[in-house]
Subunit: 216 residues, 2 copies
């Protein structure tokens, strides 16, 4: 059955691979599953046909036959559960990899998103600098814990897993802040993720969409 | 094998069931699994023995034999995968229930946590009122989508699932804001969750911890 995902017709990150379709593309590349992409304008994302697929009017979605899913974490998990390469076979190691998936999305990502939202919504406010330093303090608390746990290992728990895929995707959103550079092992961890052939293929695919949109 | 979870020795929510051990207690009650609780002081949560279990020094954790997990989402999923009652058997319905688990934790909860953090950290700042209204606007956008999708159904996708368990747990954190009352169907949805016998048992158990701590 054909897998179809949705992505931005014209991504606000200008093809830097930070939109959430990238996680799903990367997962599909890791397990070697072909997929099609339906591109959406900001307007189309809020129309009833898309709200039917995604109640919050966002991307990505995942369609395969009668199955329709949203939430990048859930889609990556669905792919990882059905195809070898993203979750270990051992039950304990599998549960720990899933733990890192949730940690990426519910512990590490929220303050990083809050930072991006503040940069967008509060940039012109008198309080902006003070707020940014409060958020950065919270991000550093989480990164301290993550960096200490990773230590000098290549991946968070044994072999590369869907937990690493989501964690690296989330950390990449911090790169422009310069904060990642404060953590040598986390920078190297992110670079290891970006060097994976599956990551490269996914990155090029989303960049091609942006390049085509800006040429037209 | 004995299941042991961790919880606050003296919960900052004063026994209102908003701490994240409540989700795990509720899941264990739904599937009828007994468990033990190890209570932690704020100091003990930051000590090496606990950081070994939870790299971010938080509660809850879950131990069962050699397996140690953190992240309430991952723990609830682990329980739901091993015992009947929290995930449907049908593969499509199961994937959709897991989607709601991720939606609860990565789409609905983050702005609700941001609100709680602002109330704690920014209450005395000149900008507080303006910030609160920006956050509330974002929360309402998400609640609008959730309320429209729920409609007049009892649960988010067919039978009660781990997705509802997490979503209701997250929505309960909004109650004191009064915002839930703006959505009649979401208020009724949360009340249906609270009326479940498993919820009641979990609630009483966490309340008993707080009552004992404040009496001593």
């Amino acid at each position: 059955m054909t897998i179809t995902i949705t992505a931005f017709e014209n991504s606000p990150d200008r093809g830097r691979g930070l939109a959430r379709d990238m996680r799903v593309r990367w997962a599909l590349e890791e397990v070697g599953q072909p997929y099609e992409v339906r591109l959406l304008s900001f307007k189309a994302m809020k129309e009833p046909a898309h709200i039917e697929l995604h109640p919050f009017g966002q991307i990505p979605t995942y369609e395969e036959g009668n199955l329709a899913l949203f939430e990048s974490g859930s889609i990556v998990f669905h792919i990882a559960e059905r195809h070898a390469g993203l979750l270990p076979d051992d039950a304990g190691a599998r549960a720990r990899a899933i733990t890192w998936m949730f940690a990426a999305l519910s512990t590490i990502e929220p303050p990083i998103i809050e930072r991006a939202t503040a940069r967008f919504q509060e940039r012109d406010q008198t309080w902006y600098k003070q707020r940014l330093s409060m958020i950065d303090e919270r991000i550093r608390q989480r990164l301290n814990g993550l960096s200490a746990r990773l230590g000098d290992a290549d991946w968070l728990d044994g072999a590369f897993s869907a937990g690493d895929l989501l964690m690296i995707s989330v950390l990449l959103r911090l790169r422009e802040s310069g904060m990642l550079r404060e953590y040598e092992n986390l920078s190297a961890y992110v670079a290891r993720g970006e060097a994976r052939p599956a990551y490269r293929r996914a990155f090029e695919a989303q960049l091609a969409v942006f390049t085509a949109a800006s040429a037209s």
